[in-house]
């Protein structure tokens, strides 16, 4: 038997760690599929679900913090239990989760969906002198709110947007921040008094060649400096310098840092579950963890070699539910997740780009989801892309989290509507 090695109870218990994007949509999809035939328990430390794409807009006063927070419990279907508590560790050999309050939760299937967490302490000096004064981040609500006030005070000098390490959640977000900062400063008539520099550990503006070239061109047209292959070693907030391991320095008056990310703390305390950064070691096609046959992972928590983004968790949802079902039935798993992710990239001035890609195919120009028709333009700025990004928050709450498929948007990536470019075809030259 390929799946359950021991007889399962009448109503198997599925425990889902994390009630964010991935955990919530997984819980709702499993509930819709199995109804009362399974018991579903979601564990999270609080009842505040943040619409994370909204955080980008808070520093610019384009979004209010409380407008992007809702109850986690209210996003879950009736019958799903939300247990508030801190996870101490997963004991996969015993199929139990130990909570910090001493309680032990038994499971038949475990789904780890605890996302990625910010680890600012990983970079020397980042949280030292200057933190919250001229050194900020916008990947948390308090951080984004504090940056709003600092940006309002900025009237001249050097603004540096720095990705300190990879992987990070939503890799285009720092670029979007730089584009929006350029727009914001132009609107305030200050752009010629503020120099903007984008700093990245990658060898280009983005990871994939075609998109990277396109986005580097946009930075240049907006007069934003680009510093690549910068492996940040430390931040000196007193003198305003960002310093790399090979002793390059970038001076700043205001630093917007994207801190290093890692998995949830309990992952590293759980035998065999995670890699050295605390991401769950996961089969990239089936989403089963490498730790145990009844443990799965999806979303940012997994070590999948694709972008950490809500759209990824959405596209993984179908594969996850299918494979949890197959495991419970004792069947072989389906290797159906292809690494599909898509993202909007806000570029300021009421425009945005849209990119769509998977494990094998990098972001290419074209139209999405319908070839020629779009309405979204791939890898090109348009007003419709921007309007779609703004329209996405209600889709997130009412379609993505409840676990509905979005009409016309397939979980697997499609090549239809994508234009192969010279770069793509000439990859081997």
């Amino acid at each position: 038997m390929a799946g359950a090695a021991h007889p399962l109870p009448m109503a198997p218990r599925i425990v889902i760690l994390g009630g964010g994007t991935a955990g919530t949509l997984a819980a709702n999809r499993l509930s819709r599929r199995h109804g009362d035939a399974v018991e579903i328990v979601v564990v999270d430390r609080d009842d505040r679900h943040v619409y994370q794409p909204g955080q980008l807009f808070i520093p610019f006063g384009m979004e209010e913090p409380e407008a992007i927070v809702r109850s986690r419990r209210k996003q879950l279907r009736r019958g799903i239990e939300l247990r508030l508590g801190e996870v101490d560790r997963v004991q996969s050999a015993e199929s139990t989760v130990l909570l910090a309050d001493g309680e032990t939760l038994e499971y038949d299937v475990l789904v780890v969906a605890t996302g990625a967490s910010l680890q600012p302490e990983e970079t020397e000096g980042l949280t030292g002198p200057g933190w919250g004064e001229r050194v900020f981040e916008f990947y948390s609500l308090p951080g984004a709110r504090a940056l709003h006030d600092a940006l309002a005070r900025l009237d001249s000098g050097r603004l540096v947007v720095a990705v300190l390490d990879m992987p990070i959640k939503c890799p285009p977000a720092p670029l979007e921040f730089a584009f929006l900062a350029d727009w914001h400063l132009r609107e305030r008539g200050l752009r010629d008094r503020v120099q903007i520099t984008y700093v990245t550990p990658l060898d280009g503006a983005f990871t994939k060649p075609v998109a990277s070239e396109h986005l580097a061109g946009m930075l240049e047209r907006k007069g934003i400096g680009l510093e690549t292959e910068f492996a940040a070693a430390r931040v000196d907030g007193e003198t305003g310098r960002l310093i790399s391991w090979d002793e390059r320095e970038v001076p700043f008056d205001l630093l917007v840092a994207i801190p290093a990310h890692g998995g949830a703390d309990f992952v590293s305390r759980s035998d065999g579950l995670g890699d050295e950064l605390g991401f769950v070691r996961t089969d990239p096609r089936t989403l089963r963890s490498k730790a145990a046959e009844n443990v799965f992972a999806l979303g940012d928590a997994a070590d999948l070699p694709t972008s950490k983004a809500g759209s990824g968790a959405h596209f993984q949802g179908e594969t996850l539910v299918e494979n949890v079902g197959r495991y419970l039935e004792g069947e072989d798993l389906a290797g159906s997740y292809d690494g599909h992710v898509n993202c909007f990239i806000e570029s300021g001035f009421h425009r945005a780009l849209f990119i769509d890609f998977n494990y094998e195919v990098e972001p290419l120009p074209g139209h999405y989801p319908e070839p020629h028709l779009g309405p979204l333009a791939l890898l090109r700025e348009s007003r419709i892309n921007h309007l779609a990004k703004l329209a996405f928050q209600p889709i997130y709450w009412h379609m993505l989290l409840p676990g509905h498929d979005i009409p016309g948007i397939a979980p697997q990536m499609s090549m239809a509507g994508k234009h192969l470019t010279a770069t793509e075809q000439g990859d081997t030259q």
């Binding site: 390490d165 990871t207 391991w245």
Partner: protein
């Protein structure tokens, strides 16, 4: 596709000199690639990193990032930069005969 000769053996590489097929790699070749990149000789500490990179690539299909190397290889990041100046993750990958690390997106 390019072909380079390391330690007398012709191998297929990408435009930056990273081996296409890690199976073609030998320790002799590692010494030759290191020398061509200004590293001579390869010390035990170099080898510790090279073997770690290779094992990790063969096990997971991707090369570790610099932070992962610093945490798991037993060699701290500062020393990695002394051993493999400029970009340790890339240079060690090249010497270890594995494809160029694709900064995961």
């Amino acid at each position: 596709m390019s072909t380079l000769t390391y330690a007398g053996v012709p191998v297929e590489t990408d435009p930056e000199g990273f081996l296409r097929d890690p199976g073609q790699w030998t320790e002799e070749m590692a010494r030759a690639i290191a020398l061509a990149n200004g590293i001579d000789p390869l010390t035990d500490r170099h080898w510790q990193v090279i073997r770690f990179m290779r094992d990790r690539y063969l096990e997971t299909g991707s090369a570790p990032s610099i932070r992962a190397l610093g945490k798991a290889s037993g060699v701290p990041i500062k020393e990695l930069y002394e051993l493999f100046p400029k970009g340790p993750a890339k240079l060690a990958a090249k010497i270890a005969g594995i494809p160029k690390p694709r900064g995961c997106i």
